[in-house]
Every structure is written in structure tokens, then in C-alpha cells.
């Protein structure tokens, strides 16, 4: 296998120009709702999310902690555990099949096979008592009819392909013997084991140092280009989204509040939340300036505010925002946002490009 690591610095090719890709989406989520019963009441962690990923593209799902983005990832794989429940009427279509309607056996054949997940914490997502090689091999054997020996050989090969030197030796080691970056490479190898068509990367670099993070992201980019898979990148880090994705969904309080091509979003965010978020991010490439913080806190999932869920923290909120929840409204070409400003065409004109877009999300 050749060294899959991309030469440093090359930008991902597709990220620049955004446009609708032809054909049916690879993954299509419609009205996804996930609720948890808890002491404090019912937490509607994900509350009517629509989202689509087309073959080969990289889509970002960005939001702060508690907004429901990780639960969305789990719900796609139908891994929401008791006491969480995916509501009836939610749909997750992957390669034409509704994952939520599949038999347990059949969904298992999808997980880790054509639809793979790179989990959040590389330290926790590897079984500490099994060698990393065996954990890769077992995924291969779960989805492909190969012998133990072939699977083991493939495992070593995969480790090499994700840039782990001395892969044969590493395959026989345990997670605690590897550094954080190595662990994440192993997890990527596991995710790639069966040649997935869609990779869900849930905060793949949050637990890593900046330099390692860069390495991992370069690796992912290279692999994606080579293997032609789609990636759903879930993160809280706007900068990552800006650098790595083609389209972005912004989540807040269990809902998608904005969807847009990456370039357009960063050029002119439509939703006040997105605007606030961008203003609050400190930047290493700019001299110190006072940050524009969003006031208040993210509300708890058991008590979403009425109306627009962002209204208590929104500088533009008025009566209607408090009473009525805005739908996703068209906000330009290929983009939409969940904000009454778009309907009323009023508010901070300077910041909001609000021409009526012909096409919407869906």
C-alpha cells in the first residue's frame, strides 16, 4: 500500500465551490426526533432534523455541546440506547433503505460496513482489553466471509494504510500502548475496514492536540479523496468546518437552524445564532480584539424555550419569535435558516443577506 498521507497543506478539492450534486442523496434524514426520559422530564434531544449527504461530499454538522449533534449520529446508526427513543415518523434513508425500519440483523449488516462511524474519544472507543489488530479483524469478519488469517492480514494492511509504522507489531498491541493520534488512526482503520460509502466522524479530533489533529484531518482528507466516500463531519469547531467541508448544517437546541454551502455560510451567516457563534470564535490569525459573546446559556433539553429556541439569547428577537417556532426558511441559493427575520425581511440588514431563494433545503 502506498502512503495515504496527503502532502501537507493541499486544500480539499471539493470544499471550495458548492452546488447540488446530481442523483439521490446517499443519506437522507427526515424529521428525526429522539427523546430521552429523565428525572427532569422528557428531553427532546433531537427534534425534527432533516439532513442529506450525497455520495462523495463532505458535510459538516456543527453545534455546541448539548445541541443534539452526537445523538443525531447515533440515531443514524440506530444506536440510541434505553431510555432514549427514536420517535415514530422519523426516517433515516441510507442507500435507499430506511434504516429505522430494518430488522436488527439487517441494520447490523449496514453498521460498520457501508456506513461507518469514527467515534469521539479515541481513548474510550477502543476496547482496552483486546488488541487493536483483533478489533479490526473482527469487523472484517463480521461483514465479509474471510478466514481469520485473511482478516488478520487485512488488519495489518489497514493499519499501514492509515499511516501506522510497524503495523504488524502495533496490531498486537493494546489501546493503552498507543498514543492518542495512533488510536484515532486505528479507529479510522476500523471504520475503513469494509470500504464504507459514508463515514460519520463525530468530533474526530476534539480530544487531540492541534498538531495531531492536523495530521488526522490530512489523513482523512487523503483517504476520502482516494476512496471516494462521503463524510459527515460532526464538530463544535467552526474552523474545522470552514476548512474541511462543502456544505454545513448548524444545529441549536435539537434543531437544524441553518443549512448552507460552506463558503456562503462563512461569508454571510443567515441565522443570528450562526452570526453570534462566528463572532465569538477567537482567531489566531488576527490581532486581539474583544470577542462578541452570545449572552446566556444553552437551555437544557428538557425545557426548550417556546417559539424560536434561540430567542432568549437573540439580540433581534421580538414577539413572534417568543410565540411561534420558525420553520426552515429559504435564505439564498442552496441555503435556508430557521429565523423569522427571513420571513419578515427585517432586522440587521447589514449582516443578513435575505433575498428570497428559489430553492430550499427540502
Amino acid at each position: 500500500m502506498s502512503d495515504p498521507r496527503a502532502p501537507g497543506g493541499a486544500p480539499p478539492s471539493a470544499a471550495g465551490e458548492a452546488g447540488p450534486l446530481p442523483g439521490a442523496p446517499l443519506l437522507e434524514i427526515a424529521d428525526l426526533r429522539v427523546a430521552f426520559a429523565s428525572e427532569g422530564g422528557v428531553a427532546r434531544a433531537v427534534d425534527g432534523v432533516d439532513l442529506a449527504v450525497h455520495g462523495g461530499e463532505t458535510v459538516g454538522l456543527v453545534g455546541e455541546s448539548g445541541c443534539g449533534k452526537s445523538v443525531t449520529a447515533l440515531a443514524i446508526l440506530r444506536l440510541v440506547e434505553h431510555p432514549g427513543l427514536i420517535a415514530h415518523g422519523s426516517r433515516v434513508r441510507f442507500e435507499g433503505r430506511d434504516l429505522l425500519a430494518l430488522a436488527e440483523r439487517d441494520i447490523r449488516a449496514v453498521r460498520g460496513n457501508h456506513l461507518a462511524l469514527i467515534p469521539q474519544e479515541p481513548a474510550a472507543a477502543l476496547n482496552p482489553v483486546l488488541t487493536v489488530g483483533s478489533q479490526i479483524a473482527e469487523v472484517i469478519r463480521a461483514h465479509q466471509h474471510v478466514t481469520r488469517a485473511v482478516a488478520a492480514w487485512r488488519a495489518v494492511e489497514l493499519l499501514t494504510s492509515v499511516g501506522i509504522p510497524d503495523a504488524e507489531k502495533r496490531a498486537g498491541q493494546y489501546a493503552h500502548q498507543l498514543s492518542g493520534g495512533m488510536r484515532q488512526r486505528v479507529l479510522i482503520a476500523i471504520a475503513l475496514a469494509c470500504g464504507p460509502h459514508l463515514l460519520i466522524a463525530d468530533e474526530p479530533t476534539t480530544a487531540l492536540d492541534v498538531t495531531i489533529q492536523a495530521e488526522i484531518l490530512e489523513l482523512l482528507d487523503g483517504l476520502q479523496r482516494r476512496l471516494g466516500m462521503a463524510v459527515l463531519l460532526i464538530t463544535h469547531n467552526l474552523a474545522l468546518v470552514a476548512e474541511r467541508t462543502r456544505r454545513v448544517y448548524v444545529m441549536y437546541a435539537g434543531q437544524i437552524v441553518e443549512e448552507a454551502p460552506t463558503g456562503a455560510l462563512f461569508a454571510a451567516p443567515a441565522h443570528p445564532y450562526t452570526q453570534g457563534l462566528m463572532a465569538a470564535v477567537p482567531r489566531a490569525d488576527r490581532p486581539a480584539e474583544r470577542l462578541a459573546a452570545i449572552p446566556g446559556q444553552v437551555p437544557p433539553a428538557t425545557a426548550w424555550p417556546s417559539g424560536c429556541r434561540f430567542h432568549p439569547r437573540c439580540p433581534f428577537a421580538w414577539e413572534k419569535c417568543r410565540e411561534e417556532m420558525p420553520p426552515l426558511l429559504p435564505a439564498g441559493e442552496g441555503r435556508s435558516a430557521r429565523c423569522w427575520l427571513l420571513a419578515e425581511r427585517q432586522g440587521p440588514d447589514a449582516k443578513t443577506p435575505s433575498p428570497q431563494g428559489a430553492s430550499g433545503g427540502r
Binding site: A37, S38, E39, A43, A45, E81, P83, G84
Partner: protein, 282 residues
Amino acid sequence: MRALRRGWLRFRAHRAAVAAGLLVAVLAIAAAFAPLVAPADPLAQPDPVALQNQPPSAAHLLGTDRFSRDVLSRIVYGARVSLGVGAAAALLAVTVGALVGLAAGLASPAVDQLLMRSVDVALALPRVFLILLVLALWENAPPWVVVLLIALTGWFQTSRVVRALVLRLRESEFVQAARALGSGRPGLVRRHLLPHLAPTIIVSATLDVGNIILLESGLSYLGLGIRPPAPSWGNMIQDGKDQLFSAPWVAAAPGLALLVTVVAFNLFGDGLQAAFDPRDRR
């Protein structure tokens, strides 16, 4: 999501713990007010020939034993022994264990090592064998000696747990913060360590009570704990063992009382642990 689930479990455990706690309270009250609760004198032998081994009836709700004594009354009085020995020994053991653990956790590494190596050795001592040895070889030990023996051989584990906790707390950021504020050692112990040790200590004491009740019953069953004619559940089982077929209630009733009590304490302890434990740590 996990926090939510754990919360639900905790709630459920709470209810069982509340029930168990109530039961423990009822038992304790019954034991404390035994003379008022027990229908008869636990030592009275109305007619050791005609009324011996009577099955349960209106007059004797749990029947009578081979001496025509009222089994229910003996169980009520026996609760004094079981709960008394259990509670006293557990309290003493846990107190000693907590103090040693605290001392080791706060002391210099040398003292700490000395204490903990001693505890290592002590933990490997055949505890029950030694208790048995003392009780068997020494003259008729009064209950407080039993308590003392059980307690003094039962604190090692607690001291280890407490020490580990102290060491962890010492490294915790809020203790570091308190040290940075200039808090002295007594203040640290009072304000930061004890409130965190308390749940562990309380839970460990509660669970200990159950274990000690079992231990005491075993000793009494061997005829070495509480000596007749004073009733204790262990010696009542021994009393009834030979009549297991003709008068099963004599052995069954105290056995059941033992089971229920120990279950109650364990359930209560588990519940406390669950209630104390997560404390919403994210």
C-alpha cells in the same frame, strides 16, 4: 443519555432503599422497645413439657420452642443482639477504619506506607478463625467483647478505601483550589474531605451491619457468640436445628428474620450508595 438512564435507575433504587430503610427503622424500634413489642417474656417457660414445640397459633404467632418459650418474643429480643452487635461493631470498625485511612492519606509517604503495609498484612489474617479462637478459648465473652473483636478485625478494608479516596481528593482541583486559598489541614479535612468521605463511610457502615449480623449469627450458631438463654438469631437457629422436621418454625423464623434484616441493610446500603454516588458529575 447515560446520565438520564442512571438517574432513572437511581430513582428506582431510592424507592427500594426507602422501603429497606423503613424496615430497618421498624426493626430498630422493635428491638429498642422489645419489652413493649414482644408478646411474652423471651425467657419464660410456661410449660416445658406440654407446650414445647407448639406450632404457630393465636397465642404464639410463631409457635414455641423446645422450652415452650414464645418464638416471636425471642426474635424480637434477638433483634437487640443482632442489630446491636451489628450496628455497634460496624460503627466502631468504620470509625477506626476512616480515621486510619484519613491519617494515612494525609500523612507523610513513610507513615502512609507503614500504615498501609500493616493493613495489607492485617487483611490477610484469617479473621474469623482468630475471632473464633478468642471466643472459644477465653471465658464466656460478653456481647461487647464480640463487638470489639469484630470491629477491631473489620476496619482494614474501610481504611484502604478511605485512604484511596483521600489521596484522590487531595489531587482534586477543588482541594487544590482550597490549598491555593491558604486553607490549613484542619479546614481542608472539615470542609472538603469529610463531606466527601461521609457517603462512603455511611454506605460502608450500612453494608457492614449486614455482614456483621451474618458473622455474629455464625458465631452464635457455633455456640460462641451470644450464649443461651439470651436469645440471638444465630443461637435460635442452632436451637431449632434438631427440630427442623417436627418444629420447623423454631429454626425457620430466626433464619428468615436474619435473611430479611440483612437484605434490608444491604438494600438500604445499596440505595444510599446509589443516592450518594453520581451527584450529577456531568
